[in-house]
């Protein structure tokens, strides 16, 4: 049974970069709650602050002001936090160190766990993680990251999550660098994480189609603020903020009128 306290709760979280004339308010007063086991998507154009928010959730950035809680408490110790909250990043090629084999890097992930499992158990969990993304361990035996395709590399990132089995996953643009036909696979594995491991997942993406398909709830972000939130159908059918209306209107959809000629 998922616990009562929300996984993440934000109260007027602000994060700024630079100072004086060059001050940038990347996240500008954001408040929300994300419950345990929920899949939430944060959707917005480039530069709307969604990646900064993702890094705040990951504990990589501290909020400049406001309160950001994980399971009811501030994120004080990063290592503890990463024990339970892990991430998948956007560019599979720059995610892995080219000088170590993939298997070595997957095993290195266990370095973060407080009660570090035994060597053999780590190997088993890595194998299980690889199988979970339909990759036979022998296929990547001794292989280096530059020997695999973009789609396969993205799967390695997911294999790492299946192996580590964290409580929460922050997926920052997980499919934007991947070809359309492979994208569906990645989504299947992400859904598998929720179904099999009841993991809480936060999606950060500019692709509203992806967000609509995968998430229980949607946040639309624009210039550091959340302008719309709700279930996918609410947000798509009954958008409240003009920004969302324009965003939906600008997306070329097959069945919808786009530009009159």
């Amino acid at each position: 049974m998922p616990s009562e306290t929300p996984i993440f709760s934000a109260r007027d979280v602000v994060r700024v970069f630079g100072s004086g004339k060059k001050l940038v308010r990347a996240v500008d007063g954001v408040s929300f709650d994300i419950a345990d086991g929920e899949i939430v998507s944060i959707v917005g154009g480039s530069g709307c602050g969604k990646s900064v928010l993702a890094k705040i959730m990951l504990g990589l950035y501290k909020p400049t002001s406001g309160q950001f809680l994980y399971e009811g408490h501030e994120i004080t110790d990063q290592r503890d936090h990463w024990n339970e909250v892990q991430a998948v990043f956007q560019d599979p090629f720059s995610c892995f160190n080219q000088f170590f084999t993939i298997r070595a890097q997957l095993k290195a992930a266990f370095h973060i766990l407080k009660d570090k499992p035994s060597k053999s158990e780590i190997d088993d969990r890595v194998d299980a993680g690889l199988l979970a993304v339909n990759v036979a361990p022998k296929d990547i035996e001794g292989k280096y990251p530059f020997e695999l395709s973009g789609g396969q590399m993205q799967r390695m990132l997911l294999a790492r999550i299946f192996a580590l089995r964290p409580k929460v996953l922050i997926a920052d643009e997980p499919t934007s660098m991947v070809d359309a036909c492979v994208r569906a696979n990645i989504l299947d594995y992400l859904m598998k994480l929720k179904v099999e491991l009841s993991m809480t997942i936060v999606f950060v993406t500019h692709d509203i189609g992806l967000a609509y398909y995968v998430s229980d709830r949607l946040f639309i972000m624009h210039e550091g603020k959340i302008v719309d939130a709700g279930t996918p159908d609410d947000v798509i059918l009954k958008p409240t903020s003009p920004v969302t209306v324009r965003l939906l209107d600008d997306i070329p959809e097959i069945h919808k009128e786009w530009i009159k000629r």
Binding site: C181, Y213, P252
Partner: protein, 325 residues
């Protein structure tokens, strides 16, 4: 009906690599285009789209070589002509190109108006002064009051949308017959993309250029932009028909797979589960027997791997699959 502005007749292109390998990047592509028509070309990365672009512009610069076939613009062939001849008489005048990443397609240390003037001066006699007036008028056509600011700005001072529209303005300065747009809006966010596409429609309707080939992997975008769509796979057209046919009733297994893998935020789409296509396109170095999609095709039969598939008329569009239904 006016004779076709652009004809491609069984065009095949190959790369000669340093190690003597011959890679057949484009095989047996044929199509015709009429005045005011937009042809969309869609396909995965590495299917030969960009190679085709160079071929359609007559830019056969080693290691790219034409194997066979012909490309005609307004009746004038682009085959076996010297690069200088192509540069002087074809580029920007007959066939023009809009590159993919517009944000660094403009020379960072030069004002937009100077780059534009360079194009005019390179192709037409007359001094730069006249060129500046002419491009001033043209830019006012689609930038209105903003034209002066944009023309006198350096690329670094413009937004991505302004840069992309300036590139389109520059590429169509000499009213080319054919404009080839290679993923012109893939790097832009949605609202800027809409403004850019609107500009393209206005230019086409105003007859600034006669026809366009629009290359992208986003089928929903092509649905609204292109009149006809050709789906490209491993260097070949596998299906070609009107936008509605391709999007709403795809026949070739690969087109069906592409449409199936698409995600759209439309009501009722939530239940439709996207289907992925396993594997990757075949390497084009060795000659391939039978259908190139056979390895990944969900409805492949043993015969598919033996006999070569020809583009044939089926359900009033061209399909390269004997068993499409």
């Amino acid at each position: 009906m006016s004779e076709p502005t652009f004809e491609v007749d069984h065009l095949s292109l190959h790369y000669l690599t340093r190690f003597g390998e011959k890679i057949h990047a484009v095989t047996d592509v044929s199509f015709e285009m009429k005045q005011g028509e937009i042809l969309g070309i869609a396909g995965e990365s590495g299917c030969g789209k960009s190679t085709l672009v160079n071929g359609l512009m007559g830019l056969f610069i080693p290691p790219l070589h034409p194997t066979s076939g012909d490309v005609k613009v307004g009746g004038e062939s682009l085959m076996n002509r010297t690069p200088q001849d192509i540069r002087e008489h074809v580029l920007s005048r007959k066939v023009s190109m809009i590159p993919q990443g517009a944000f660094n397609a403009l020379n960072p240390t030069r004002k937009v108006k100077d780059i534009a003037a360079d194009v005019i001066v390179a192709h037409e006699k007359g001094d730069r002064k006249k060129a500046y007036d002419r491009l001033g008028e043209r830019f006012e056509l689609f930038f209105g009051a903003e034209a002066k600011r944009i023309l006198n700005a350096y690329p670094v001072q413009l937004t991505a949308g302004e840069r992309q529209r300036s590139v389109i303005g520059i590429s169509t300065l000499l009213n080319p017959e054919m404009v080839i747009a290679d993923e012109p809006t893939s790097a832009l966010d949605v609202s800027t993309q809409k403004i850019v596409i609107k500009m393209i429609f206005d230019l086409l309707d105003a007859g600034i250029f006669k026809s366009m080939i629009f290359i992208t992997h986003e089928l929903p975008l092509l649905r609204h932009v292109a009149d006809n769509i050709a789906i490209m796979y491993a260097g070949e057209f596998v299906e070609k028909g009107t936008a509605e046919q391709i999007v709403f009733s795809p026949k070739h297994p690969y087109t069906k797979a592409l449409m199936g893998a698409m995600l759209s935020a439309e009501p009722g789409q939530k239940s439709r589960k996207p289907v992925a296509i396993e594997g990757a396109p075949p390497s084009l170095a060795e000659a391939i027997v039978g259908c190139r999609f056979a390895a990944r095709c969900p409805v492949a039969r043993p015969e598919c791997r033996q006999n070569k598939q020809e583009l044939r008329m089926f359900a009033d569009r061209l399909v390269r699959c004997d068993y499409a239904e």
